[in-house]
Symmetry: C2
Subunit: 526 residues, 2 copies
């Protein structure tokens, strides 16, 4: 019996071989070849002592090598610790230690970040290199391990259970140490496939099919590239691994490899579109993108539409996996204007996911299309708590529900509009102001590159919003104020939500997850 | 945590309410209303003593009532025994007794079939009626039970586990007593959703999306209508229940309710197309059909195409659930001629399904596009054996593999061409002749309505094929012989596969599953 185990995704791709390629730079392999390489790697690691439960730390870009380690780890029943190379050095070392890494697989480009650990890992350090050349004496390269292993599937592979741990990774909040989450094989399989199935079943957005060509621009350390490390092999579809591609290289891959599906956060998308504009590429027809960040900036949505790029918006996170994805409502034509609008904001929970809204005392908040509540989530793939962190687990995982720390508006049709982080929103005169919504509307102004709205203490109201703006060219406060007032007059924005003040910066600070670092802004401006 | 449990499919449809209707005759309910009715029914049954493990026998057409019993049974952790009303009276009573039915839910139209059991079931007999009127004294109607139950979800619902049994049903082979198979909740959920996901992910055939309007013409006793009783609520899509609709009524429903997706065996499809022709309906554009029967008769495939009906071919069975579905190969345009041809024959295993071909000694048969082998299957939803039938289990379930009793040709790309039942194929001069393939080609002749090829003993060759033909108008043996010779000349058929003789009949006998009864033909002709 084939079970909900990660390496079965790759076995399925081999059995149902479509001839599709996995592309990484000049390397092109079939899924059959990828499978053979993963088996050889697993065998080599087994001979070196890796066994069920061994924790393998991996620090690499989205590469063929990284996929090989994913599947070899699964075949051995080992636990993959995907390391976020964008963390501060201190946090990175913390996650390696807290996650219990017994081996480190390090791409040369990231070696400086973990140099202090080189000696401690000794011969349990593998260079993520495609050649046999070792950057320094003492550690094998991945290519060398693949070359030494036999082509025999490890016996352990058949003994891996759905409920065995598959991976650990760390959330990248703006406060405190990163929090770890451990997921079982079935959690990761159900959630990764859930995203793809949801997209396939709902026309109009970033529809995924077995014929699409996938480029995962979300790093694998971020929930395995939002599940693509599992779901694309499951589809047996062409898989274009971008390595450390910048926007120019992404654009080249999209055009030359025939990419039709990608995933990116809004910042990445802006850079891609800027580059396309600069390169005189007026349209990217046939491209579909799954993006996250709630709500989707109105200006970005418009730019995507102008370029002919279909999009869907996903809501989720490292500690809940996929929760909801935007869809076109059943009574709206997928090609109508209203379809694009729905796809930019209103998300529908993935099937098997339950959501509820609560006020500060835990009482239900009505799904009336306007009341803001704290979002709680329940799903088949929810972890029971944070990894080795009872205290913070107790605060967020309550009676089987995950308290997401996000604020959302529920619509009567069951869709959700996630408007802000609880820590980012402000209470002004006792009422919530969702900064995310204001940002989405401000970003619609043609001169605004990026914007963050933060709370500033206010004697009369408790706090009031301040908009910190990165502009394309000089723009006055009154122009932006008037821009928002048009939405107030249309009834789309409450008058008291309009920021009292605007500040202008050359660039907004970002976190290791690529999101705007509001904590840093609050420290500087509030 | 929401689990892989059947009634969670309906809960999901309620949470993500799209406003889609479930239609049964003049009744139209939302999924919210269906859920409430199922809860009320479950509560009423609970009060009458139905509890975890109680076996509920159901004999009804595809109705709203039948769905209510499906979901109420799931909520109570009871076991649904879906009864095949097309079985002989003797076999039907056998399955009721062998399946351990403790209650019977009987639609009035089928009452005569089970009349002898009326007294034995006493007050555990429920009339499947939408009114409060009882056809005879002593048993409540389903409507009355729904009216008496409270709207409180039974506490048992939250305790139902993925691995609890959900349903039992009986295969309808042509020899021996029907064989029972018991499926757990997760088996039925994974297999039912697997069909829908496979169809959604592969363009060109009977693609399923949340926007389709579904009419299940396969009876619910046949694997819950090939899973539609679960998968359509999961999609939250419009669900048109045909009751005992004949072809005329099906055509009316398709046109008036906007049906875009249905499932039918070839016999049903022929009747639908005949009726459309008779009613002057030249096309059924936008209709997609999932059909079973291997291989799809060439003539039927052509008729579907002429009417603009997209199709996919599914291979599976009561004792293996869904195994494979036809797809358009990745290098073929979904709109090209070759796409329609692929969709009529070459099936790809559902993801998570493994298949292999073996000869009579269990040795592997090459997937070379021509060698015929015995098809063995492994999947996450395979039962461990037949229900309370150790002897027949041991013959078919071996080391985790199900020996399907079907013969197939494997192609190098992993697709399967299921050509015949082991019992139907013949060995002639030591070589297999697959009768299904000959039938598919003969049915392409415009004068052939239906055809069955059977083995006739032959002194020299062991056996030789005889074609039993139901013709539209008079046709000579030599015309049909010449028709097959054209395929021989094209290299599509071996010369020695051409039947030595043809026999003509007014109508071919069919089994309770709607398939041609070859055992009866062999008794008559061989």
């Amino acid at each position: 019996m084939r079970a909900l185990v990660v390496h079965e995704m790759l076995s399925a791709a081999v059995d149902h071989d479509t001839g599709a390629e996995v592309v990484d730079g000049s390397q092109r392999v079939t899924y059959g070849q990828l499978h053979e390489r993963a088996v050889r790697l697993a065998d080599a690691l087994r001979q070196l002592g890796v066994s069920r439960g061994t924790v393998l730390g991996v620090m690499d870009v989205n590469s063929l090598r990284n996929l090989e380690v994913h599947y070899a780890s699964s075949m051995l029943g080992a636990v993959l610790l995907t390391l976020n190379f964008r963390l501060s050095a201190e946090d990175l070392l913390y996650t390696i230690q807290h996650g219990g890494a017994e081996w480190l697989f390090v791409w040369e480009g990231f070696a400086p970040l973990v140099a202090p650990l080189r000696a401690a890992f000794a011969d349990r350090w593998v260079w993520m290199a495609d050649t046999m050349d070792v950057p320094e004496p003492g550690g094998p390269t991945l290519a060398a391990l693949v070359a030494t292993g036999s082509g025999r599937m490890p016996q352990e592979a058949a003994r891996v259970q759905e409920t065995d741990p598959f991976s650990v990774f760390y959330t990248t909040g703006t406060t405190g140490r990163p929090k770890g989450v451990l997921y079982r094989h079935r959690d990761m399989v159900l959630a990764s496939l859930g995203i793809i199935h949801h997209l396939a079943l709902h026309p109009g957005g970033a529809v995924a099919t077995s014929r699409d060509v996938f480029l995962p621009a979300i790093p694998f350390f971020h929930i395995h590239g939002w599940g693509t490390a599992l779901s694309v092999p499951y589809l047996g579809a062409k898989f274009v691994l971008p390595g450390r591609a910048d926007a120019a290289e992404q654009l080249r891959l999209i055009r030359e490899e025939g990419v039709t599906w990608t995933n990116m956060v809004p910042t990445q998308l802006h850079m891609l579109l800027d580059h396309a504009d600069g390169a005189g590429v007026p349209e990217l027809p046939g491209l579909k993108v799954l993006t996250g960040g709630s709500p989707l900036p109105t200006g970005l949505a418009r730019r995507l539409r102008e370029k002919g790029v279909r999009y869907s918006l996903i809501y989720g996170g490292s500690d809940q996996l996929a929760t909801s994805i935007s869809v076109v409502p059943r009574d709206v034509d997928p090609n109508a204007d209203a379809a694009w609008e729905s796809l930019a904001c209103a998300t529908t929970p993935l099937y098997m996911v339950e959501t509820r809204l609560a006020d500060e005392k835990g009482r239900p908040v009505l799904h009336d299309g306007k009341s803001i509540g704290r979002l709680h989530v329940r799903s088949p793939w929810l972890p029971s708590g944070y990894h080795h962190d009872l205290e913070r687990s107790a605060a967020s995982f309550v009676d089987g529900w995950f308290h997401t720390g996000d604020l959302a508006v529920g619509n009567p049709d069951g869709t959700l509009y996630v408007v802000d982080r609880e820590g980012d929103a402000l209470k002004s005169g006792g009422e919530w102001i969702a900064t995310g919504l204001i940002e989405a509307l401000l970003s619609d102004h043609p001169l605004v590159v990026a914007v963050a709205v933060i709370a500033r203490p206010d004697e009369r109201w408790g706090s009031r919003p301040l908009a910190v703006v990165q502009a394309r060219a000089e723009v006055s406060e009154s122009v932006l104020h008037e821009h928002l007032m048009t939405f107030v007059r249309r009834g789309q924005l409450a008058r008291f939500w309009v920021p009292d003040a605007f500040a202008f910066v050359d660039a907004l600070p970002v976190t290791s997850a690529g999101k705007i670092d509001k904590a840093a802004l609050r420290r500087a401006w509030a």
